[in-house]
Amino acid sequence: MTDCTLVIAGSAGEGIQTIGNVLADALSAHGYAVFTWQEYESRVRGGQNTYTIRVREDPCNAPTWEADILLCLNKGAYEKSSGRLKDGGILLAEEPYGDGTLVVPFKAMAKEKLGRVIYANTIAVGALAGVLGMERDALEDVLGREFAAKGPEVLKANLEAARLGYDAADAACRDVCPWSFPKRAGSYYLVAGNEALPMGAVRAGCRFIAAYPMTPSTGVITFLAKRSEELGIFCEQAEDEIAAVNMALGASFAGARAMTTTSGGGFALMVEGISLSGMTEVPVVIVLAQRPGPATGLPTRTAQGDLLFAVHAGHGEFPKAVLAPADPKDAFHKMVRAFNLADRFQIPVIVMSDQFLADSRFSIEDFEIDRSGPESFLADPADFEIYKRYAVTEDGVSPRLVPGESRHLVAADSDEHDEWGHITEDLAETVPAMVEKRLRKAEHLRRAMEPPEAYRVDDAREIFCSWGSSRGAVREAVDLLREEGAPVGMLHWTELWPLAAVTFPEGARLWTVENNATAQLASLLRMGLGVTIDRWILRSDGLPLTARFIRRAYHERA
């Protein structure tokens, strides 16, 4: 089975993202299951970044580190990334950096043959396609799509550039390169987390988003802002995160499904607003895209370091839900679920993403968009003679109307209040009634939560507990270890709070596998389910978990 990893290494501004995206698109158009992930520095030009592409026939949406093919756009890139090249792998570069470099002088060729250095990137794309033994025409289709808008001149030059690169590489490596990627029948969506999350929001009927830019969350609002008028979604760049969450609450109060997005520091600023959502029972969805902290930390890197913070975010006591999608398909559906849960229980729902999920492109066979859909939980004004926004009910959920849509008056109050929403100081009756009403919702919410996904646990004696975006890596690790005879399985949580009841297989040893330094899922499971985790596999250097990382750590600690 084909499983080939390409790494494109270079500085910000040198075009590795363009190269990577076009090549990934082309491979996808060829019918392959492509997975890409990126690691980059927090700067606009310079530094050393990489774009990794994994190509297979069937999807394995998990990151790999070791490269079969490494394209270095400069000497520094080589110095940083050459260690990733597998024995026998192909190094492609402008100049000969090491022994056996496959030299394709992209820039020189661009200048010489096409008159402008700008075409060097497309030459590189062509060269990689040549190394991979792709068919030219799929590449040309993709280039057509990519450059059509820029006019026939530009398109023509790019097609020519690709051809130049292709031929140069093809000629140079026909003997050395084992790969061949002929067109095949596969057809996958190639989608990043930051594309699937907003598409899920659209599907959920989101009508309002306010956010303040913060890596790696910004892509979500950028996606929607681009299509705001087409989709009828009001998009606002807020002056700060406090404004963002409060705007979303205002819009939600007025009946719009509303959300915001941010990362750790911005989320910290929203915490008072989360508590406000809890008290006013105004639903809101918050996408928390994690990056390593504390404070500013590593703004462009990945982590799962905010789990316990998210679960406990907000002063006072109120129900909230925390979800953490495993991949873009899951993210799409989790967004629908987030809006539905938020509306059904009138609570804040936090959807935890991270830089890895946000920026990586996954191959999805089918989004199965019917698997979930938006549900309306608004009450009908005609059903009420007298309407009380905070009516005490059996399940704690009060019928919700929106202001202005009928003659009924609708309140939201951040103070402790009576059924009408007016400030109360009645400690004897009203206060306990309201405290209990809100907490009754927590119990119903808990029953609505999904248990973890089980993978090869039935006969497992070692179980990896994991959550969120690492599912692909953990699952692949399980497969690798199983091949070696290790009796491992996986329990993977994507619904983290409140925790659904789980029965752990008896006698199995529990491991936690997390992209953080303090084993937060382990703490959460101990707190929420009373279960004790024996071992941990943790990574907190800003890079995503990979199957091989997990396998190595397993062997070290088993």
Binding site: L276, T280, P374
Partner: protein, 289 residues
């Protein structure tokens, strides 16, 4: 003949008896009646403070949110349902202190809402600390040798940024205030109405002290003249210029373009998008055919 006031409710009012906030409440109810609004067409938004309790005392929709955060909530409400008459009732601590950033940025956006700032030059609900408008030298519970920082002049900042409508009224003159408020609501764009609201518990100056310092804009004053407005506001030291101080030039409204392109109806009525539009979106991400 007595027509019952549709905006009157029977919630127990938690203000001190005699507090000038009552005058603002009266004026606001009057303004809504004069504008022939009905309670369900109005949404009051507030933060926390004595001023911010007002929405509880007036029959209409309301969102009483967090200290300092009324404006973003109001913007969200207005974006979602521009048909609602959205009015923020806030204190100067709420709006110029904790929430100062939101006022600055609301001025940039020019939403069609009215912001009524009860300015009592004090944090009243928390018992008398200096606020962003307390005069220099005044002794307060946390400024025991007198306030050192200079007061903010947010009406002038509003003028500077071409707010649609800037006015100042006096809680002790609800009739005049009512007209200012009605005019503020009528005016498209952001209307800022600062109301001098003497706190009788923590400030305890006689009403006469205020009356002497009220300084109505002279007849013939042109609220369209920005320089003049800045001059009266920046040069009012110790006095309170009152009246309609400024009417800014026509500017785009918050959300205007969105509504022009997508329609006026409240977002809640737009329903869920058809599945086909989602499939179309997703199809952008499939390279093959």
């Amino acid at each position: 003949m007595n027509v019952p006031d549709p905006f009157k409710n029977d919630v127990e009012i938690q203000w001190c008896p005699g507090c000038p906030n009552f005058g603002i409440l009266t004026a606001l109810k009057g303004a809504f009646r004069d504008l022939r609004l009905e309670p369900h067409q109005v949404c009051l938004v507030s933060g926390i403070g004595q001023a911010a309790k007002l929405p509880h005392y007036l029959r209409c929709n309301f969102f009483n949110g967090l200290h300092g955060r009324a404006l973003p909530v109001a913007l969200g409400i207005h974006a979602a349902n521009p048909a609602l008459t959205t009015v923020v009732t806030t204190g100067e601590g709420d709006c110029y202190g904790e929430g100062g950033n939101h006022l600055l940025h609301a001025l940039r956006r020019n939403p069609d809402i009215t912001v009524v700032v009860h300015n009592n030059e004090i944090y009243a609900l928390t018992k008398g600390q200096g606020s962003p408008t307390t005069p220099v030298g005044e002794v307060r519970s946390l400024q025991v040798h007198g306030v050192e920082a200079a007061p903010l002049n947010m009406p002038a900042v509003a003028v500077l940024h071409d707010a649609a409508f800037v006015a100042r009224g006096f809680a002790g003159d609800p009739d005049h205030l009512k007209d200012l408020l009605a005019e503020a609501v009528r005016c498209p764009g952001l209307s800022l109405v600062e109301v001098i609201q003497p706190c009788i518990t923590w400030v305890r100056r006689p009403v006469s002290w205020y009356k002497e310092r009220l300084w109505p804009v002279p007849p013939g004053y042109d609220p369209g003249d920005k320089d003049a407005a800045l001059r009266v506001l920046a040069g009012d030291d110790g006095r309170f210029v009152t009246g309609i101080l400024y009417r800014g030039p026509k500017r785009p409204l918050f959300g205007e373009r969105f509504r022009r392109e997508t329609g006026d109806e409240p977002l809640v009525r737009r329903g869920f998008p058809p599945k086909s539009s989602i499939s179309a979106l997703l199809d952008n991400f499939r390279m093959g055919e």
